[in-house]
């Protein structure tokens, strides 16, 4: 039990790695996810098919299998060999999360009142203008709760890279569990609290964002 507290810097370092992974993957997933969402609601049928194929395939594949591609299969082919592990983790988690972001944004688009898009069309806006100036700003607002859910799930999912060479929180818990087999409950509680704090942080951020945007309306 003293082990965890006397080596608390290791715990903090591990959670710092989890935070970095979550932030980088979150940014990657938001960019790719927004693109996918735009493709899925757009007028070009082929793009819609491409986007929905990607969404279907990735959403039904376990993240662990994605990690096998990124961390094992790619280096065996000479790809991503010199790439830092953090970047590889970001690629795996980001690619995996993007479809969920796309779905969250799409649900936000669906929540924008019909009249808004119609009015935009009526004054002659193109699809791109309509999306950029009218639909997406409102869609993002409506997407805040589902997006927050997605980001929370993603933060928890960063744990999957634990046995792919990244010393993040879950890998560090393994380390402590191995050294202190009699204290697993305490160790688990320490790490669980860490994750809960991260989750609550995202929740509070989302609630704050929602409130601010609501006031701005």
């Amino acid at each position: 039990m003293d082990d965890v507290f006397s080596n608390f810097d290791l715990v903090l370092k591990a959670f710092w790695m989890t935070v970095q992974l979550a932030v980088l993957s979150g940014v990657a997933a938001m960019v790719l996810g927004t693109l996918l969402a735009a493709m899925r609601v757009g007028p070009v049928a082929v793009l819609r098919t491409v986007a929905s194929t990607y969404v279907t395939v990735v959403r039904n594949t376990p993240l662990l299998v994605m990690c096998v591609f990124v961390f094992f299969a790619a280096p065996n082919l000479g790809l991503l060999v010199g790439t830092p592990f953090l970047v590889k983790g970001t690629i795996a988690v980001g690619l995996y999360t993007a479809p969920f972001v796309a779905e969250a944004i799409r649900s936000g688009v669906n929540a924008v009142p019909l009249g808004q898009a119609e009015a935009a069309r009526a004054i002659g806006m193109t699809f791109a203008q309509n999306m950029r100036h009218v639909v997406l700003p409102q869609a993002f607002r409506a997407s805040v709760p589902p997006l927050a859910s997605t980001l929370i799930a993603m933060t928890k999912n960063t744990s999957v890279v634990a046995v792919f060479g990244i010393m993040e929180a879950t890998a560090r818990m393994r380390y402590f569990v191995n050294r202190n087999a009699d204290d697993t409950i305490l160790i688990f509680v320490v790490f669980a609290i860490g994750y809960i704090l991260l989750v609550e942080l995202i929740s509070l951020g989302a609630v704050g964002l929602e409130r601010r945007w609501k006031a701005a309306r």
Partner: protein, 296 residues
């Protein structure tokens, strides 16, 4: 709002432009696929020897019986347990007694906020190893706690989705609280919740892959054994595993959609986005494709 509201019916020039986009996209996609295949071929990854094990009877059997079947067993066992857990804690969260409500909320929120892998490793190394119940049940119990907590929210939402008059009418004819819940509210709620439960199977199925970490049986375990035995076949094995997972998940998603249409009708699938503590949810590791979400 449907997709078509976002843009006008295209005129001749737009149609031409869209056609151009379509052609460019098709060219780009075809080029990308061809590029990947050519690269893989030049690396020798498409050679028959690298795939032979997947058409060799004993390995196919290992994949399907020791792999897929075990994975399905773990997923379904945990979902069944999770339904029980979900009913108990979902109903608990609706209790009239504040301590019960709070206790249930606390338990549910805790297990939803903790990564299921962290939970799995903890359960395995605390009660699973040595004399314990082993990796198989460690996976099942971890998934039960996690999916059960998600389902508790689904059940709560499901019970609340039953029209208010139903409960009131039941009270009016003199039923007691338990009777109202068991005879009137739950049976109707279950029907509404069925698609969400099936979708949760997809989440559970994907999460069984995490058993990899604690040497639990299942698809990823067999996958690991196969790429260990045939070095350098991570790519091929991962492709085969992904195809198996995707096929089963699509079947389940199809089932959920069918159930939704058949038993629930055009109601929106249950949305359990809100939680008591923060107003937000911690969704599944997988986040199953909700029934009814298709191409626009």
């Amino acid at each position: 709002m449907t997709g078509s509201v976002l843009f006008d019916a295209p005129g001749p020039r737009t149609i031409a432009r869209h056609r151009l986009y379509s052609i460019l996209t098709v060219v780009a996609v075809v080029a990308a696929i061809a590029g990947v295949l050519l690269f893989l071929r030049s690396e020798g990854e498409l050679a028959y020897e690298k795939w032979e094990q997947f058409v060799t009877p004993k390995y196919v059997e290992a994949l399907l019986v020791d792999g897929l079947l075990k994975t399905l067993q773990m997923a379904f066992t945990s979902v069944i347990f999770a339904v029980v857990f979900g009913v108990v804690f979902g109903v608990g969260k609706l209790s009239d007694h504040r301590p019960v409500r709070w206790a249930c909320t606390l338990v549910v929120e805790f297990f939803r906020a903790v990564p299921v892998l962290l939970l799995m490793i903890f359960i395995f190394f605390t009660w699973g190893v040595g004399d314990g119940f082993g990796p198989y049940w460690s996976v099942v119990f971890a998934l039960t706690l996690y999916n059960g907590s998600v389902l508790a929210e689904v059940f709560r939402a499901g019970v609340l989705a039953v029209p208010k008059g139903q409960g009131e009418a039941a009270y009016a004819i003199g039923m007691r609280k338990t009777q109202v819940m068991n005879l009137v509210l739950l049976p109707q709620a279950v029907k509404i919740m069925l698609p969400a439960i099936i979708s949760q199977c997809v989440v559970a199925l994907k999460d069984t892959s995490l058993g990899y970490y604690i040497v639990a049986p299942g698809l990823t375990y067999i996958g690991k054994a196969m790429w260990t035995e045939f070095p350098g076949t991570h790519l091929q094995t991962a492709v085969v595993l992904a195809v198996l997972y995707i096929s089963v998940n699509l079947l389940l998603t199809g089932l959920a959609t069918w159930v939704q249409k058949k038993f629930v009708g055009e109601h929106k699938p249950l949305d359990v986005g809100m939680t008591a503590l923060t107003g937000l949810t911690a969704q599944g590791t997988g986040g199953a494709p909700g029934p009814g979400i298709g191409a626009p």
